[in-house]
Symmetry: C2
Subunit: 419 residues, 2 copies
């Protein structure tokens, strides 16, 4: 979106291809729509003016929303109940006085309120103004959904949409820390398990079993130590490939960067609020001036006082000045809002990208966890095989031979005694 600046026709835009009549300039609204302003008559219109200058165009009342209203009055109306506090609504200001029509006044008609300003940010009312297209359709992008402030449940303060996005990123940092903690706990469990298995593998229980059965038993005991090694290796890899990365991903600088974003956007909001205050002040001043002019004009007509035409001209001049002031204030406000808008889009897209990266990074490292688990089970399985092989080659006959050779008491049988 661009600021409301004077601009030539955009490509593809429908134009009359006629030069504008004198006094008329064309501008592009933030929505990307072209409008036209006559700075002398203070008229604004969506319709490209024809060469008959000076004549009022289609009255504003019949137009939807115009970027700038006539300097004399403002054109928002009270719509649905405000979502937040500090809603600034402006009621229609004037009735047409019977019979007295001044060029400026002639423009004053009852106009629909089409916009609403909440917390100094201006939105179109529902159903008013051209339908908005999402900046990034079908993407559920941050830049489309976080313009308004959110009232907090207690109802006393509100939080900007941007804050919500920021909090999400900070939360993400906390969650990754908690995941690291979880992995750490798993590591401790594995180390304990390994320690216990290793200790038991050194047990002298049944160490006196001999022969092929003894060998198989010895290997069975040893396999516990091998299993322990597998689990220790698992624990170590968990630490270096999952826990540590989870802890160190996006260090302290990350929080600092987020804070910078936070302050920058908050500053722009403050500026906006300040501009908005100026607009409200200028509006009031204009209202006062217009009232004064009206009163004086009435008084002249009914010869209530000795006010001269001179006084009325003065009042009218002041009124016009106030109108100009208001226009300038509104213009400045809109510029500031546009700047904030741009920064919001840029920064929220940055946060969106950070979130995608965060999710993908965590996904990758948790897959490393499952890979390590899988590996561990496979290694563990292979620790049993030597045991099974030795068990398969247990031979009672061989064991008997070994034992008998070792323990026999004689190789000679008794014979009968001779006399």
């Amino acid at each position: 979106m661009k600021s409301a600046v004077e601009s030539s026709a955009a490509p593809g835009e429908e134009t009359d291809r006629q030069p504008l009549p004198p006094g008329w300039k064309s501008y592009m609204s933030p929505e990307g729509l072209r409008y036209y302003v006559n700075s002398s008559s203070k008229e604004t219109t969506w319709r490209r003016p024809s060469s008959s200058a000076g004549a009022p165009q289609r009255p504003l009342a019949q137009q939807n929303s115009s970027p700038y209203a006539n300097g004399c009055h403002s054109s928002t109306k009270k719509g649905q109940p405000a979502e937040a506090m500090n809603v600034s609504l402006r009621k229609p200001m004037h009735k047409q006085p019977p019979g007295s029509i001044s060029p400026a006044k002639r423009q004053i008609k009852e106009v629909k309120e089409t916009k609403i300003t909440i917390n100094c940010v201006t939105f179109p009312l529902p159903g008013e103004g051209p339908e908005q297209q999402l900046l990034k359709p079908n993407e559920w992008s941050y830049c489309d959904y976080f313009w308004a402030d959110k009232k907090d449940p207690q109802g006393t303060t509100s939080v900007t949409g941007f804050e919500v996005l920021l909090q999400k990123q900070l939360k993400g940092k906390q969650l990754q820390k908690e995941m690291a903690e979880f992995i750490h706990e798993r590591i401790k469990i594995e180390e304990e398990y390994a320690k216990n298995l290793s200790k038991l593998s050194l047990s002298p229980l049944a160490a006196q079993e001999e022969g092929t059965l003894g060998e198989a038993w010895t290997q069975l005991k040893k396999s516990l130590h091998d299993e322990a090694e597998v689990h220790l290796k698992f624990a170590n890899k968990l630490h270096t490939e999952v826990e540590k990365p989870l802890l160190t991903f996006r260090g302290d600088n990350f929080k600092k960067d987020l804070k910078k974003y936070d302050h920058h956007i908050a500053d722009l909001r403050k500026q906006l609020a300040s501009r908005y205050a100026s607009v409200e002040k200028a509006r009031k001043a204009l209202a006062d001036r217009q009232k004064d002019l009206e009163v004086k004009t009435q008084q002249l007509e009914i010869k209530l006082s000795n006010k001269t035409e001179e006084d009325i001209k003065k009042a009218r001049r002041k009124s016009t000045q106030a109108g100009d002031d208001l226009m300038r204030c509104v213009d400045l406000y809109n510029q500031t809002q546009s700047k904030w808008f741009e920064e919001m889009v840029t920064t929220s897209m940055e946060l969106e990208k950070l979130e995608v990266e965060r999710i993908e990074w965590i996904q990758q490292h948790l897959r490393q966890y499952t890979t390590l688990r899988h590996e561990t089970d496979m290694f563990n399985q292979s620790m049993v095989e030597p045991v099974d092989q030795l068990l398969q080659s247990v031979e009672p006959a061989k064991d008997r031979e070994l034992w008998v050779k070792e323990n026999k008491t004689s190789e000679v049988r008794p014979v009968d005694m001779d006399i």
Copy 2:
């Protein structure tokens, strides 16, 4: 082996097919060899006698060992140093007196000692007697190698070969108990591990992670509980399929049965010892009688005394009686030894069978252990798969959609303020 009883020719045995000359009988020795005895002349020989009765056969000195020596003397000689105490050796008793030859005396020659009795059990001396074939060649069978007693290292007592075999079986029972203990310790380790994993699976860490990543994380945590279940199952199966069987295999009755064997064999040894004592006593009595006869004969010849022929006949009769007694004692001894021999063979074969069964039973149950280990690792692996699948389907875009729908603050962008 059979007792030394009168028997007819065994099948395949070489015979002269002549009837034995009168006075001769044939017997089978414990070694399974046939020998012949002339009960009147008290001759014994391996060679089948020919019809010329009464004549002395090949002198004993030229024969290897004869089952029964001539009633007048015993025929063992001092051989290698005795392995155990209570070795009973008998020296050659007589020299041939010059000129005086009585029928009995004429048989007395110097004979080699071919047997040795150790702890009341009689063995052939090395190199003496027919070579012994193993009862169960190439099998290293218990029944071939545990006839002798074993001196214990301190040198004060000895232990029978049978005791050695029995101790092995009792040891085996202890070893199986120790194996059960080992398995029990493994079970405890598994239960602890399962408990820890299960507890950690309930951790609320990073529970606030949402969307597809949150789902994957939730499943990851849950998988720890699934792993815990696998290990618990392993522990339970270890208990019912390995530990408990190891504990209950061969219950208390086994020890009782072994004790029965122990006592039975020990009793037979006691009987043998008692018979042996009788033999020794009879031998001594015979020696006394023969001495007496000799003295009296000498005295007669040198007219030393007024001993009559009558006295000498009496002395000779007593001598002969003593000889008969000795023969009977030796016969009883040999019968008892044969009985003990038979029981030893039977029982040691039983123990041998028990040992084979023990080894095979343990082998089978330890293979059950490795099977369970293998299964456990496989089940464990499958617990990781759902986690990995969910991780694979993590989609940052989807998560953004879900989160934005839930947390968005507006769907409308700001627009410029109108005047």
